[in-house]
Symmetry: D2
Subunit: 348 residues, 4 copies
Amino acid sequence: MPKNKRRVSIIGASGYTGSELARILINHPNVSIAHITSETHTEKLFSDLHPQFIGRLDTHLVSSESVRPEDQDLLFLALPHGVSMEFVKRWSAEGIKIIDLSGDFRLSDASIYEAWYKQTHVFPEGFAKAVYGLPGLHEDQICSANLVANPGCYPTASILALAPLIAGQYVDPRQVIVDAKSGTTGAGVKANNTTHFSNVNENFKAYGLGTHRHTIEIEEQLGGLHSSGTAQVQFTPHLLPIDRGILVTAYANMDKAINQKEMTGIFREFYKKAPFVRLRNEAPAVKDVRGSNFCDVFPYVDDRTGKLIVVSVIDNLVKGAAGQAVHNMNLMLGLDPTAGLKDIPMKP
Amino acid sequence: MPKNKRRVSIIGASGYTGSELARILINHPNVSIAHITSETHTEKLFSDLHPQFIGRLDTHLVSSESVRPEDQDLLFLALPHGVSMEFVKRWSAEGIKIIDLSGDFRLSDASIYEAWYKQTHVFPEGFAKAVYGLPGLHEDQICSANLVANPGCYPTASILALAPLIAGQYVDPRQVIVDAKSGTTGAGVKANNTTHFSNVNENFKAYGLGTHRHTIEIEEQLGGLHSSGTAQVQFTPHLLPIDRGILVTAYANMDKAINQKEMTGIFREFYKKAPFVRLRNEAPAVKDVRGSNFCDVFPYVDDRTGKLIVVSVIDNLVKGAAGQAVHNMNLMLGLDPTAGLKDIPMKP
Amino acid sequence: MPKNKRRVSIIGASGYTGSELARILINHPNVSIAHITSETHTEKLFSDLHPQFIGRLDTHLVSSESVRPEDQDLLFLALPHGVSMEFVKRWSAEGIKIIDLSGDFRLSDASIYEAWYKQTHVFPEGFAKAVYGLPGLHEDQICSANLVANPGCYPTASILALAPLIAGQYVDPRQVIVDAKSGTTGAGVKANNTTHFSNVNENFKAYGLGTHRHTIEIEEQLGGLHSSGTAQVQFTPHLLPIDRGILVTAYANMDKAINQKEMTGIFREFYKKAPFVRLRNEAPAVKDVRGSNFCDVFPYVDDRTGKLIVVSVIDNLVKGAAGQAVHNMNLMLGLDPTAGLKDIPMKP
Amino acid sequence: MPKNKRRVSIIGASGYTGSELARILINHPNVSIAHITSETHTEKLFSDLHPQFIGRLDTHLVSSESVRPEDQDLLFLALPHGVSMEFVKRWSAEGIKIIDLSGDFRLSDASIYEAWYKQTHVFPEGFAKAVYGLPGLHEDQICSANLVANPGCYPTASILALAPLIAGQYVDPRQVIVDAKSGTTGAGVKANNTTHFSNVNENFKAYGLGTHRHTIEIEEQLGGLHSSGTAQVQFTPHLLPIDRGILVTAYANMDKAINQKEMTGIFREFYKKAPFVRLRNEAPAVKDVRGSNFCDVFPYVDDRTGKLIVVSVIDNLVKGAAGQAVHNMNLMLGLDPTAGLKDIPMKP
């Protein structure tokens, strides 16, 4: 391992976020992957699970028991929600920097978590420590955080679409509609009827109407940006027959009349220091950002109806998970914020 | 040609609606295909253009010049808008029954047409004769019509999703949002950048924000159902990486408080005589109706937000075009309304 | 149930062959579906499992225990191999006509079955009774059979591609290569890593090199057509990222020199009475036959290399399973061979 | 532009190879992109044509007239065949290093070119100068070449699959079958019926039987490796409904009996210094290499039939085009052969 490189480990090898973290970190100029853990595949190589890494990351998987936090600069938890909280509880006392990619610490407190996740939280104290890791909105806090809750994929695209309008008090935060569409990797690596090829391919459906857990995550974050302190979002996710990509079509009602030029200006100003948000002058497609950490945003004023529409796109595994986690890591370790995240979107 | 069968012809062979009409009509118990026309492929067989028909419909294509309306019971115009109006103008004086699958006669008058289609209309008198062919809403008029304007694909799914709520005065018709997603056959058979495989595959995008021609078609039809006489719809179409299928997610604000049970009852009552509208108790997927004339509808009340959401799905080439045209033909010729339309959706 | 219709039942409701049988039989002019069985979903409707049938086939699933063979004209076994043999054993004594869609009785005897299927056969006597149900090759025997082993999907496409050449002694039956590609429904309805969307989508792979069970089925059938009595086939299946469709590219070495015109003539003659084999004059695509019972075949002589190539395509769920089973049923019950099988391929 | 970086230009901006070269070169540690040319879009930015580059490569496109060869270390010609030869003719006198990604200089002489490409060659002298740029086979010549003909996509996968067997004299070079399957980007960026979404999606077909231009390219290269000096290949390409990826299934007859262990050893030895060829112990999938410069190869001996089968996969735009071109550039400029080519395959 080269000198001067920071040591980071990935807890959880088998899911998509684990392999995507490895894909990005392996070419990161300032960090090295110390360990990748798995409790069920400890006899295997990482490249046995993910053959795309053959010859590049043939490292042995180890149990998380063998990770010594004091030897690590940072840990990524690429674990299911409900499991992740156990690890945060175990390790947060040790002062190690942690980025949790699960949903376990994204909300404001345990009671709200339990209401939406239908599950008991084992580490309610963690909520106070956790910083919501959406760079651009909470950048200073991220830089000094020990525990970052990496945002959900849908919330990342939704909040970035609406934040300038809500923070600028331009729209009614209680009449927001987020119609969201996600690729299938958002449903995880596990084989089940939802992810069966013939149930997804040549198909399209809405799911989780009115009940998806990301609803409250979006509402809390947008509410925090508005003078009223609250937001209500009608959130409808849909399943796209593609691997990667989220497209959000957000609708809002003006509280102040603004025209297209003003709307564009509001977004340009809001994101002038955001290295990964690209303001577009036409509706973006998910392939424009695939494999990259970009979020492309197109705000539109419909003069005929007086409504505001914002279309945003991300790669759910990068900007919606592993890429944003690496961005957060860069901030937490004092590195160049864009280090390791310079890949051009893979199109076609 | 068997006795007693009605003679119908398809004007326009090369597009998807032409081949889909042939696919349905060839197994229709009461009609025979007299001619299929093409101005550019008159030396070819229909099955040369569409090899799926080899051995089943190896009929010679003929020029529309050679179609004698007096020998036909009904003509289907499967032509681009702008072209179709010329044929309607030519033939409507002859008293022949016509179903126009283009957008040329769906709106209320020529001035509105010209504003949205950016094109001069050559037969403004046609609007007064034309009946909007959405069975269930205008069934009596369709039965006695000589000219039926077959509805657009997006409008079919959108209007069927919202008609019970608008007609029942349950929602504000000026705050309706229709977020619609269509398969690529909706973009037509012509090869261009929009339909290039690598621009569609693994991709998803919004298009035509605020300007799509189907907006006014939906607004006019919904407006006609409401006591106020008008409706305003925020309509956003998206392009899905699939061949067939439209899914509409419609959002509306209650004018009268209704709960889930009442909403279901409203839809059940409204569609009790509609043979192709299926009321679902969960959000449908586009593959549930693929290849069939069904429109599956799921109305949902979000108690938390007070909003109404309706999800509807159709096959854009069947219920959104050729199947609905055959349904209209059945009504116009006094046949069993469901004749020729009994195919089960092809899933998987 | 209409008079005069034959009563048939489908044993096994949950798989793709079960639902595809129902899709075809529901519009068959001469038969009615008496029962559809399931041992695990007996409390449900068939349309609960397969929502595409809502409103059309809302029949209650029943246990196979409640099917009285004496009330049935024919039974379709849409069961996994290994399970099917149990039912054949139970019912074959009763004289009921059975079409088994599994692989349990396609081979010549139990020892060969056990060598390739790695499984004990519980009803070795069945092999003598079973007729291999490939109409065109064994039509007379099918007409008088009580037990038909419905061919495998790959074998159907492979045998139809090569039978005219092997039967005519034009090629060396021991140097045949079958490079086959199948859609994912061939892997079944069960969710596992093989059928996970992201493992199939945008992907393509070979599998089962040298060991696939369909190898011996193809070899036995082709061998039976040749004067030598044997054939050796190098069979390589691949998994396509599509739902339906098999394309076979078969390579053979000439034993007699023939040119393109002769080759076309050989195929035309061989299939002159086969209602579902279409001889093409260019390489067919799988979508040309999707949803239909057609097998499109294109034989090609490469003058430069002296090799023969045949490309064939089928829909694996129709001609490769349920459609061919219905064709067999028509023959066994003395009906029009093409009854219920007149659907045009669904393209696009 | 940083000091010490070599200056390279891309001639031809609009195709997939042009954008893929830019995607790779932009993160290459040792080169800078000096110019990207287009004759038809000179008023635009590169990112106008390819929005994935917005914010990363917003460079103005220039006419090739304005490229001064003497200021360039190397030129990539990302042009159609037939056009490329004009540029090579113009520039090769100037001593500038050129990598031609078209097919114009891959064959042995102009007469063979004209026979297979059905087109007059304007620069027959170029064939003597051109080195076939398949690193591993012709590495020394590439290092000292001024003109490299970058291999075709199918030939790259086919030759790498068979070279160890042919070079080792293990198989009959006149009985080779290459059954190849390619993603749709191989058909280019131009919109036509071949690349129309609904003609590709859910579809699969063979094309160019016996006549594809890559046949002769494979034969010449393999022939050059064999003691007989010639090879005859039955090459059948197929079109996959995916963006990227080629899978080759190659069949050969043993001239010497070898077993699986020996076959594996032959490949290991042959590719021991090839940084991008990965020897696999199971059949690889195209997604295992997507977006990367890897070629994964699986050689298999079928003991039952005595045949050898080799499955190989590449990304046609990377190893089959732009990535291999960058590999060649690295060799020609004396850089680390793997520089700029360390991306992990993007999976899922």
